[in-house]
């Protein structure tokens, strides 16, 4: 009898524990599963998880696309060609010397919370991006503004003996709707910069009240076409149409979800099963599947401003000899690399600046000439590669980079008889070693910020932190400086062209390999407003699900 009672007690205890466990699990499930009450009009695979949505902080493209939807600058990007068009400023005047811009804000521009957007907001936003306390990586985009660099870098004014302050920065409110900007010199691409995230207009009161956590507090006042509904890290960012936006009638979608993803396979699976409508980040397209994907009507490839190249460390022998650098460049079979490895339609590159920039034609760099390469190597003291030291090729962990590295190794061995060792390291080690010049040769790439050759060419000025080759050419520096002071477009293009000749033909510290292509995946029968342009910019406001398109969640294959 006792044992029966004990057993019953034990059984009851187990049952109670089981019920409690089930309830706990159900509660956790309810809490952790996103209960989206409504499905977004469009779901976009946007790329890596944004590091920030603060325009002053963002650096990556996925971050920038979302920040650009929330906050607008004086100009904004034309979705079709990424050229600057009026944004919060409806018009502007440029002084004769090209050094003073006067912007006239729209009188109907208001924050999503209803307050008017004023010239003071613009002044605050730019000065904030330059403020050392903001710690903006991209503050350099505002160095073209008078004293921008002096304030950001804490320099002292020689005339007054005091440090430059934010009041010294050449951006001022003339009245409620007029902003006057003084530049350090004529900057032909300044209107492009005004569309760039760093110069977007942000809400002063929210930032001053909530500091670094201002984007976490609802509602976030936004100046752009969308408001931030929520941001769940590694899950999704949901944005909603801002009904108070000055051009609200042209916002085509009410609700858009932007999904981060690390895995390209997962992104593609989500698209294939109708869970996502658009994939527009190149890193989310598996290159090994490009052979299969190319030619499908939902895969769109296009040129954009990105170049893949090799850096030589010119501070170390044998790469301090230009003949060696030229020899290594002349034997590269770039056609083979783009055909067998990258496979997305990339074009072989002999220069650094990609094609497509209006009014600028890049020079022809070094072509492919194995005979000349061997001759140059012999002249440098290494006939047939004899005596040439084994050197390393630094690259970050990635299947594509590895395949390219192996290909380069084979080419240099076969054509020049020299030995290269692969040095594959994780991302942060790669960045650290490259910036400290702890490499012989290194994989590199560069994506343009605006449609102007300067976004590529100023990188190799002697004092530029992105140079990372040790290459210093006073002649090159001078040409770039002259070009950026030149108001005549033809003369300026000529100066930039001459500089690039020096960079890729006469004294090359780099070997360009290929120009990137952008890849978007979406069904034109379902989604419209996704335009392909040189900057790979995709503003959200023109995007929409087509009328009569299959309802969200339908598999593209079923729809077809």
């Amino acid at each position: 009898m006792v044992s029966v009672t004990a057993n019953r007690k034990q059984a009851n205890g187990i049952r109670q524990w089981a019920v409690l466990a089930c309830v706990t699990l159900a509660a956790l499930m309810m809490a952790s599963c996103s209960q989206h009450k409504e499905r977004a009009d469009l779901i976009i695979m946007n790329g890596a998880e944004p590091e920030s949505l603060d325009p002053a902080i963002v650096t990556g493209q996925p971050d920038g696309r979302v920040a650009g939807a929330l906050f607008e600058g004086l100009t904004r990007f034309n979705p079709k060609n990424a050229k600057p068009i009026p944004g919060l400023a409806e018009r502007w005047d440029i002084a004769e010397d090209g050094q003073t811009y006067t912007f006239y804000l729209r009188t109907n521009a208001v924050w999503s919370t209803g307050e008017p957007i004023t010239a003071e907001d613009v002044v605050y936003s730019w000065r904030r991006a330059l403020d050392p306390l903001t710690a903006s990586d991209y503050a350099g985009q505002l160095y073209y503004v008078k004293n921008g660099e002096n304030f950001n870098t804490g320099k002292t004014n020689a005339a007054t003996g005091k440090r430059y302050t934010k009041e010294d920065v050449g951006v001022n409110a003339v009245d409620t709707h007029t902003v006057k900007v003084d530049l350090e010199g004529p900057t032909p691409f300044f209107l492009d910069l005004c569309a760039f995230r760093t110069l977007a207009v942000v809400p002063r009161q929210a930032i001053e009240k909530h500091k670094d956590r201002w984007l976490m507090v609802h509602p976030v006042p936004t100046s752009g076409p969308f408001t931030l509904e929520f941001w769940r890290i590694h899950d999704r960012i949901r944005v909603r149409k801002n009904p108070r936006y000055w051009d609200a009638q042209n916002i085509q979608s009410e609700l858009i979800d932007l999904l981060p993803a690390e895995s390209s396979t997962t992104a593609l699976n989500l698209y294939e099963t109708g869970e996502a409508d658009v994939i527009w980040d190149k890193n989310l397209i598996p290159s090994e599947l490009m052979d299969v994907l190319k030619g499908r009507e939902y895969v769109h490839t296009y040129d954009y401003l990105g170049t893949y190249f090799i850096r030589f460390n010119v501070t170390k022998p044998p790469f301090n000899d230009v003949r060696v650098r030229k020899a290594l460049t002349l034997v590269l079979d770039k056609e083979r690399i783009v055909k067998n490895i990258t496979k997305s339609g990339e074009k072989p590159a002999s220069c650094l600046t990609p094609p497509g920039m209006e009014g600028y034609t890049s020079p022809e760099g070094l072509g492919r000439d194995q005979e000349l390469a061997r001759k140059l190597l012999a002249e440098a003291g290494y006939p047939g590669g004899k005596g040439f030291p084994t050197f390393n090729y630094l690259f970050n962990t990635s299947e594509m980079h590895k395949q390219i590295a192996v290909e380069l190794q084979a080419m240099w061995k076969k054509e020049l008889g020299i030995n290269m060792e692969l040095r594959q390291v994780e991302w942060k080690v790669y960045l650290s070693d490259q910036s400290k010049m702890q490499y012989d040769t290194s994989r590199s790439s560069w994506i343009g910020d605006y449609v102007d050759p300067n976004t590529f060419l100023d990188m190799f000025m002697s004092n530029n932190g992105n140079n990372r080759t040790g290459w210093k050419s006073p002649k090159y520096d001078d040409l770039i400086r002259q070009a950026n002071q030149e108001r005549d477009a033809t003369k300026r293009a000529k100066l930039l062209h001459d500089a690039e000749v020096l960079l890729v033909r006469e004294d090359p510290p780099i070997a360009p390999l290929f120009f990137y292509v952008g890849v978007n995946i979406f069904d034109p029968a379902v989604v419209e407003g996704v335009h392909q342009n040189l900057l790979d910019e995709h503003p959200l406001w023109p995007l929409r699900r087509k009328a009569g398109a299959p309802k969200p969640g339908t598999k593209p294959t079923e729809a077809r």
Binding site: T24, L25, L28, M29, A31, S32, C33, S34, Q35, E49, P50, E51, L53, D54, I57, T59, P132, L133, T134, A135, D137, A139, G140, Y143, E149, N152, T153, G154, D212, R213, W214, L215, M216, R232, I233, H234, D235, L259, A261, E262, S263, T265, T266, N269, L270, E272, T273, E275, E426, W427, K428, V429, L431, S432, D433, S435, S445, N464, G465, N466
Partner: protein
């Protein structure tokens, strides 16, 4: 008294762990703010370091961190600069906990009966078949199981979503992908435990007393045979609760498993220390619970 001592010992232990994590993550080359593009001037880098106290000596940095920690603040994430580490853990932990508990239940629910059966039916078809299934579960890694499950049950049959975390249906495949391997290990442990127990003298005594085979197996043998599984359950549950990088990545599950790997790769110092501490607390507490359960299951064990 024993348990009070153990709990009191947790505090200095966690301090040591937090300091080691804090120091070691800074030894790795590269820093949280190293990017493909250098800032326009060295001063920009200086500004950033100043803002996050990275310009101060290590011990001073640790002291600042510790002061925050005492208030329950793990500090700002250095990678996701609008988020604090607390934000990220608060968002991701419930997801990882749910997935982890479900995977744990799956592992136990699959492993214990399988191990029990294969031991009881030793040498027969059930033993060979069951052991093969357990071995297969152990041998196929998560990054193979996950895509296979997606291919078969999502792409081909369309029964489950390929990824994301919205409804209970979204949790099915990640749970299987995460729990299967551990289920195999539990089955092996259970089988070994059962086989060892069944040769014990007290089992012979129980049978001699005329107890039914079911009573012998379930009431007497099982209680002792399950002890290795109980020992393994503490670290197993700690492992599962903090999520899995591979499974969360494959199924786009917004847990904290992804951060376990990425925060080190990103040199997100505060995130690394926060997660190490979280994992340490889970591990230590669960080990304590296991020891307590051990005492309940096996009266011969005394905690001293």
């Amino acid at each position: 008294m024993y348990y009070l001592k153990r709990i009191a010992f947790l505090v200095p232990l966690l301090l040591i762990i937090s300091f080691l994590a804090f120091a070691l993550v800074r030894v790795a080359p590269g820093g949280p703010f190293d990017k493909e593009r250098a800032p326009a001037s060295p001063e920009i880098e200086k500004n950033i370091k100043e803002k996050y106290h990275l310009d101060k000596p290590l011990l001073q940095q640790y002291w600042i961190y510790l002061k925050g920690l005492m208030k329950g603040d793990f500090g700002p994430s250095l990678k996701y600069r609008n988020h604090s580490v607390n934000d990220i853990i608060a968002q991701g932990l419930p997801v990882s906990l749910t997935l982890g508990i479900m995977a744990f239940l799956l592992a136990q629910g699959f492993g214990i009966p399988l191990g029990f059966l294969t031991a009881v039916k030793k040498g027969g078809i059930i033993d060979y078949g069951g052991s093969f299934i357990a071995l297969l579960a152990i041998c196929i890694p998560g990054f193979v199981v996950g895509p296979l499950l997606v291919l078969i049950f999502s792409i081909h049959f369309g029964w489950f979503p390929v990824g994301m975390w919205e409804t209970p249906m979204h949790a099915v495949l990640p749970t299987i992908a995460l729990g299967l391997y551990f289920g195999g290990k539990v089955a092996r442990l259970m089988r070994e435990g059962m086989l060892n127990t069944l040769t014990s003298e007290f089992i012979t005594t129980a049978r001699a007393k005329g107890l039914s085979e079911t009573q012998v197996l379930v009431k007497h043998a099982f209680r002792i045979a399950v002890l290795p599984v109980v020992s393994y359950s503490g670290p197993l549950l700690a492992d599962l609760l903090v999520g899995s990088f591979v499974v969360e990545n494959i199924f786009r599950v917004p847990g904290i498993g992804v951060f376990l790997v990425n925060s080190s790769l990103n040199r997100d110092y505060t995130m690394v220390v926060g997660l190490v501490l979280l994992y340490a607390v889970l591990l230590l507490v669960l080990n304590l619970v296991v020891d307590f359960a051990y005492g309940l299951l096996d009266r011969r064990v005394k905690m001293e």
